[in-house]
C-alpha cells in the first residue's frame, strides 16, 4: 500500500495533462479546462505551503519508488504531449476551415493557453530524463523539441550543472534580474552553449559546422514535425499558436531555473554544494513537479532518482513553485520577498569569497536592489 501511495502521488501532471487533452477535444468552454486546472493547482499549492515531508524510505533504507513504473510514466509523457499538440492542431484546423462556425475564437484561445501551460509544465519530464545517460536522454531531447528547446538537454547537464551559481551558467539568474529578462537570456544562453559545443567539436574533427553529427542543428530539426503540423492545421493561426505554446512553455521552464537559483553565488572552481540552490519542497510542489523543487539535493546528486531526493536543510523559500511563480511575475514583489532570503543566505550560508562577489553584483546592479547593501 505504501509503495502504491508513494508512486501514485507523482501522477498529478499525467492525469491533469490527459484531462486538458480531453477538454481540448471536447471543445466549447471545456478548452479552458487546462487553464482552470492550473488555477486550481495554484490554490492548492498556496494552501499547502506549510506542509513539508521528507522522502519516503522503508526501515531498511530502501526507497518505495518503483523505477520501472516511474520511467514508464516519464516515457509515456512523450506520446501524451504529442497527443496534446494533435488535439490543439485539430481545433485549429476546424477553426481555419470553417472559421468561427465550428470553434469560437475565445475557445480556440482557451485551447492554445491550456496546451501551452501543460506543455510547459510537462518540461519537468524532459528535465528529469536529461539526467539519464541512456535512452532517457534521447526521449528528453524529443520532449523538449516539442517546445522548440531540444538544446536544453545538453546545456542543462553539461553547462547548468557544472557552472551553477556562476556567470558561465546562463540559467543562474544574478541578483537584480527579473524573470522576463532571465527567460530570454537563459534560453538564448543555453542554446548558445550548445551551439559553441558543436562548433568546437566540428573544428576539432576538421569538419564543417553543417554536418549530420551536429546535435544543435539536429535538435532543432526534431521540432520540424510540430511546426509542419501546426502550419498544415491553420497556416498563420497555426504559426501564432506554436509561437504562444513555445513562448509560454519556455517561459515556464526558465521561470523554474530562475526560482531555483536566483541570486545564489558560487566561486569559480569550487564544488557545487547544497547552499547553491533554493529548495521549494512543500507537499504539493514536491508531488506535482516530481521533486524538482529539491534542487539542493538534486544539484549535488544529479543522477539520483527524483523519488529519492530529500530535504538536505539547504536554502529554502518556504513556499511552493506556484506561489513563488506568482511573485516572480511582479518583479518588485519578488525582489521584496526574496531579499529577506538572500540576506539570510549571505549571513548563514555564503563563504567570505561568495559574500565579496555578492557585494560586487550589488554595486554593478540596478539601483533598485543596491539598497540591499
Amino acid at each position: 500500500m505504501r509503495t502504491f501511495a508513494v508512486n501514485a502521488r507523482y501522477l498529478i501532471v499525467p492525469i491533469m495533462s490527459l484531462l486538458t487533452i480531453g477538454g481540448i477535444l471536447l471543445g466549447g468552454s471545456y478548452t479552458w479546462l487546462g487553464v482552470a486546472l492550473f488555477g486550481v493547482c495554484t490554490v492548492i499549492d498556496i494552501g499547502t505551503r506549510n506542509i513539508h515531508r521528507r522522502a519516503d524510505f522503508a526501515s531498511d533504507g530502501t526507497s518505495y519508488g518503483v523505477k520501472r513504473f516511474q520511467y514508464g510514466v516519464m516515457y509515456m509523457m512523450l506520446p501524451v504531449f504529442i497527443a496534446l499538440q494533435l488535439a490543439l492542431a485539430w481545433q485549429i484546423r476546424k477553426y481555419s476551415v470553417s472559421a468561427s462556425e465550428a470553434v469560437a475564437l475565445s475557445n480556440l484561445f482557451g485551447a492554445i493557453l491550456s496546451a501551452a501551460l501543460w506543455a510547459g509544465l510537462g518540461i519537468i519530464y524532459g528535465h528529469e530524463l536529461s539526467h539519464n545517460r541512456r535512452e532517457g536522454f534521447f526521449v528528453s531531447r524529443l520532449i523538449m523539441a516539442l517546445s522548440g528547446a531540444s538544446h536544453f538537454t545538453y546545456a542543462h547537464v553539461y553547462n547548468h550543472h557544472l557552472d551553477l551559481g556562476h556567470e558561465n551558467d546562463p540559467a543562474t539568474a544574478p541578483r537584480g534580474r527579473n524573470v522576463y529578462a532571465h527567460a530570454w537570456h537563459s534560453h538564448m544562453g543555453q542554446s548558445h552553449y550548445s551551439f559553441d559545443m558543436e562548433s568546437g567539436k566540428a573544428k576539432r574533427r576538421q569538419k564543417s559546422f553543417m554536418n549530420f553529427d551536429n546535435r544543435w542543428i539536429i535538435g532543432y530539426l526534431f521540432s520540424l514535425p510540430t511546426l509542419v503540423l501546426f502550419i498544415w492545421a491553420g497556416g498563420l493561426w497555426g504559426v501564432a499558436a506554436i509561437l504562444i505554446i513555445w513562448g509560454i512553455s519556455n517561459f515556464l521552464l526558465e521561470a523554474l531555473n530562475f526560482m531555483g537559483h536566483y541570486g545564489l553565488i558560487r566561486e569559480e572552481g569550487k564544488p557545487v554544494e547544497h547552499r547553491h540552490s533554493w529548495d521549494n519542497d512543500n507537499i504539493f510542489t514536491s508531488w506535482f513537479f516530481i521533486e524538482i523543487g529539491r534542487q539542493c539535493d538534486h544539484h549535488v546528486r544529479g543522477e539520483t532518482y527524483f523519488w529519492e531526493l530529500d530535504d538536505v536543510k539547504g536554502p529554502n523559500y518556504g513556499v511552493g513553485y506556484f506561489e513563488l511563480f506568482l511573485y516572480t511575475l511582479i518583479p518588485p514583489l519578488f525582489r521584496k520577498f526574496v531579499q529577506v532570503h538572500l540576506d539570510h543566505w549571505d549571513q548563514n550560508y555564503a563563504t567570505e569569497a561568495e559574500k565579496k562577489i555578492a557585494k560586487e553584483i550589488y554595486l554593478n546592479a540596478n539601483p533598485k536592489i543596491q539598497s540591499a547593501l
Partner: protein
C-alpha cells in the same frame, strides 16, 4: 544594447522571410501537406539563422554579471 541589436537583426531577417513567403502565396497553400512541410522547413531554418545572427551580434555580453 547588444541584446536589442540582436533582436532587431532577428526581426529584420524574419520579416524578409515572411515577405518572400507572402510573395509566393504561401498563406494560400498551407493546407497542402507538401507546402506545409516546405513552409515549416523554411521557418525552422529562419529560426536557426536567427539564433546564429543573435549569437554573433551579442557574443557573451548578455550573460556576464559584471559590466
Amino acid at each position: 544594447m547588444k541584446t536589442l541589436k540582436g533582436i532587431a537583426a532577428m526581426g529584420a531577417w524574419t520579416s524578409v522571410v515572411i515577405l518572400v513567403l507572402y510573395l509566393f502565396n504561401a498563406h494560400n497553400h498551407y493546407h497542402h501537406f507538401g507546402w506545409a512541410v516546405l513552409i515549416g522547413f523554411i521557418l525552422l531554418v529562419t529560426h536557426v539563422i536567427n539564433m546564429v545572427l543573435y549569437f554573433n551580434i551579442v557574443g557573451k555580453t548578455p550573460y556576464r554579471w559584471f559590466k
